[in-house]
Amino acid sequence: MKSAQNYIDLFKENRALLNHGSAGVMNSLRDAALKSLEQYGLPHSGLEEYLHTDVSKWFEPDWGMNLARLDMPVDFAQAFKCSVPNLSTQLYFLANDTFASSDTAAKNSLPEGVFAGSLKEAAAQHSELVEKFYGRLADMDRPGIAAINTLFAQDGFLLYVPDEVVLEKPLQLITLLSSKVDLMVNRRILVVLGRSAQAKLLLCDHALAANQYLTTQVTEVFAGENSSFELYDLEETHYANRRTSELYVSQEADSNVEIDYVTLHNGQTRNTVFSTFAGRGSNLSLNGIATIDKEQHVDNMTFVDHRVSDCTSNELFKYVLDDSASGAFAGKVLVRHGAQHTESQQTNRNICLTRQARMFTQPQLEIYADDVKCSHGATVGQLDDKAMFYMRQRGIPEAEARMMLMQAFVGEVIGRVSLEPLRDRLNRLVEKRFRGELTQCEGCRACR
């Protein structure tokens, strides 16, 4: 509670400065956020949802915050030359929590009516649109990071796709964390898809320099009727990085949403997903991979709310834990009264490679309707001895065989990624990760 009070005080002292660096719509929710933070504080391990990740501790150090919106120049061209072969994306950049730039060619090629860019700018220029959606899903009536994020967020990214518009090319939003001091970053992402709209968004988190970072990220996704949306959240940062994110998804009738969380490299990560079916006949595919070692920690919590009938949710999370890494997974599926014909499947499989690695898993079903098919499964174990023996017998060296088995293990999740070039890239990255190489791609200076 003490650190929450520090942030409350900080906010009260700097409110004018904060508002000045942001836009009216974003400023209008700060009172509610303040109230929530005062009431619930920061999420701590005394809460069941945060049992294995004491997020409140992350907020204790004296973080720098760029409230005055000082220019923190990042040379994107130099820092990020990432080009995924065959993955032709439209690039957008966030420097810490400030929208930095997009390539102009990309901007011009967007269909009419589509907005992809700074949330702050959008809030100023299209305040009606942003007001209608901003902060509508993020739940501040419970302990979490939505409150502190809403309190301090000044900018972020907005993707708006109007009715019937299909974005062929995936959008790639690259976040580079770069600072001369240890920095806390509060980032906000808003995605609104109209009726029958389609889009794909790839989020890449990278950290430059060895400073410590704390990121809070709140993402809100509104998927309109019959829309289709794919969100890939890829984290490749470094050991000193702490990240806590909340993703809120609301799906209208007949919509399809795919979400993939990939944690290849990080320090401490906590991702929370709240997904709601608001209209019938919708599908959700929610997947995750974590390949972690040393002292790294990944905690994914998902909550899928089947409010209406005839929806399908499919979840698959896989962890490979090496050294002293620790992982946690908590997944809850709630099928409300009347949500008949729900189909829900949730799977979490984990491999611990060493004695020190630790895994905690907690799949949960809460069901109030009878005509449903729901199942969940979870396992913690090691690589299959028999498969290992089979490969050794055929002359494959132990290290290689081990790698192939691990690759196959996470391959199941990668296989679910719809974006083919990204799938290939992930396969390569994961392979490199298992070989103990750094996961940076050629020509990229990020994530060292």
């Binding site: 009264h337 004695r355 895994m359 898993t361 079903l365 069901i367 009878d370 969940h376 499964g377």
Partner: protein, 486 residues
């Protein structure tokens, strides 16, 4: 009459009688005043003529209980319980000393147990071969077969007697598995427990018969706080059965028991429960609150403990029979059928704590919800750092009958050892329409068809029950499901 028609008539007969154990017995019962203070604890101890160390044990627990708050994490909606409005001790035997032979027991009490179909009379030994300890309200009424058991060195008596006659064993083991600090209800029980059963199986002895305790709450306004302690010494074996019933009353009655089991080297204990406390009426009025702590410590190498439970009664059930797998190669099993109907609530499951090497545990849980009931499975599989080669398999299935009930699964897995293999699977679905259609087509009416399918669904667990109990459990499942179609 062939077997099938016999079964059918049985179901009809049972269907007509609803909760058949709902009668009360008009027997003079010595009940102490309602309320709980340190004096109450002293009074209970005094009534039972306990030694000083036992009173100390109780007082420590009571003082600790005062510092605790009732937990609220379960998926249950529990109305406020007024702990000062319960009488903590009721003794239907009245007589100053325990009955020495059957003739001394109040005939009304005898009738009660006769109605329950419990063979208190030793002559029934020939047919049943079950030794029974009957506990009415808080006091052990009669233990049968003591003599036969004593010949083998087996101790099977009420807790009250054990405190007097076997103080060393009680001092050594009481509270060694479930400490009074363990949880709110364990502290409460440790302070006010009135009686229960004590079992000691000496080294190398295989108990020749099933040991059984029947619990019955009779008096109004009382709670039942019994305590069971089973110690199975090296290379021994025992199968223990527990059954419970209570009269139909509008008020809720509290039952907070503790069961402790210590299993030493290569010993095996099988613990079976058919829990049929009064579940309340169809509007959710009345019924027993069943808040029980059951835990076994598998201390010895290659020891084995198997929990089998059929839970059909109680307005609210909150219990997690658990195994602490401490000895290398020890094995824990948990087989459960929990059926809730009307407004019943159940939050039940198990904890398997793997500490020793090569320990194994199996969890099979079958939940059935009907009416407006809520049925949750909650389980923890914990594998410690040194539990090399630990293996767990859990399966929990839920069956939903009707659209107003709920079925929930909350499994927790905490693995700290890389050689461990932990698996969990759960499914939730409604009763298969194909199966119902198949039965209907062959002239089996809906209600019977459901009974048939549910019994088939629960078979995996029912098969683990000793013969006498399996029959009772099957009947119970059918009765409890009555009127769920519609």
């Amino acid at each position: 009459m062939n077997t099938e028609t016999q079964d059918n008539s049985l179901i009809r007969e049972i269907s007509a009688e609803k909760y058949r154990y709902g009668f009360t017995t008009d027997v003079h019962t010595d009940i102490i005043d309602r309320g709980l203070t340190e004096d109450t604890v002293r009074l209970i101890s005094e009534r039972k003529g306990e030694p000083e160390w036992m009173l100390e044990f109780r007082l420590k627990a009571y003082r600790h209980w005062l510092t605790m708050e009732m937990p609220h994490w379960a998926h249950l909606d529990i109305p406020e319980i007024d702990y000062q409005n319960i009488s903590y001790y009721a003794d239907p035997t009245v007589k100053k000393e325990g009955p020495k032979s059957l003739e001394e027991i109040d005939p009304q009490v005898m009738k009660t147990f006769d109605k329950l179909g419990i063979p208190l009379e030793e002559r029934l030994a020939l047919s049943g071969g079950v030794a029974v300890d009957a506990v009415m309200d808080s006091v052990s009424v009669k233990t049968t077969f003591k003599q036969t058991l004593a010949e083998k060195g087996i101790i099977f008596c009420s807790m009250g007697e054990a405190v007097k006659n076997h103080p060393d064993l009680i001092k050594q083991y009481l509270g060694s598995v479930v400490n009074y600090r363990d949880n709110f209800f364990a502290a409460l029980n440790s302070a006010v427990f009135s009686d229960g059963s004590f079992v000691y199986i000496p080294k190398g002895v295989r108990c020749p018969m099933e040991l059984s305790t029947y619990f019955r709450i009779n008096a109004a306004g009382t709670g039942q706080f019994e305590r069971t302690l089973i110690v199975a010494d090296d290379d021994s074996y025992v199968s223990y059965l527990e059954g419970c019933t209570a009269p139909m009353r509008d008020e809720n009655q509290l039952h907070a028991a503790i069961v402790e089991i210590v299993v030493l080297d290569r010993a095996e204990v099988k613990y079976s429960t058919v829990q049929n406390w009064y579940p309340g009426d169809e509007n959710g009025k009345g019924g027993v609150y069943n808040f029980v702590t059951k835990r076994g410590l598998l201390k010895g190498v290659d020891s084995k403990l198997s929990w089998t439970q059929v839970e059909t009664g109680s307005a609210i059930t909150w219990k997690y029979p658990s195994c602490v797998l401490q000895g290398d190669g020890s094995q824990g099993e948990f087989y459960s059928v929990a059926l809730t109907n009307n407004w019943q609530q159940a939050d039940t499951g198990t904890k398997m704590i793997h500490i020793g090497r090569n320990t194994k545990s199996t969890v099979i849980s079958k939940g059935i919800s009907a009416g407006h009931s809520q049925n949750s499975y909650r389980g923890l599989i914990k594998v410690g750092e040194h539990a090399d080669g630990a293996r767990n398999y859990s399966q929990c299935d839920s069956l939903l009958l009707g659209s107003d009930c709920g079925a929930h699964t909350f499994p927790y897995m905490d693995v700290k050892n890389e050689t461990a293999i932990v698996e969990h699977e759960a499914t939730t679905s409604k009763i298969s329409e194909d199966q119902l259609f198949y039965c209907n087509q062959r002239g089996i009416p809906m209600e019977q068809a459901i009974g048939l399918i549910v019994n088939g669904y629960a078979k995996e667990v029912l098969n683990k029950l000793p013969m006498e109990f399996a029959v009772e459990a099957q009947r119970l499942l059918s009765v409890s499901l009555e009127n769920t179609v519609g």
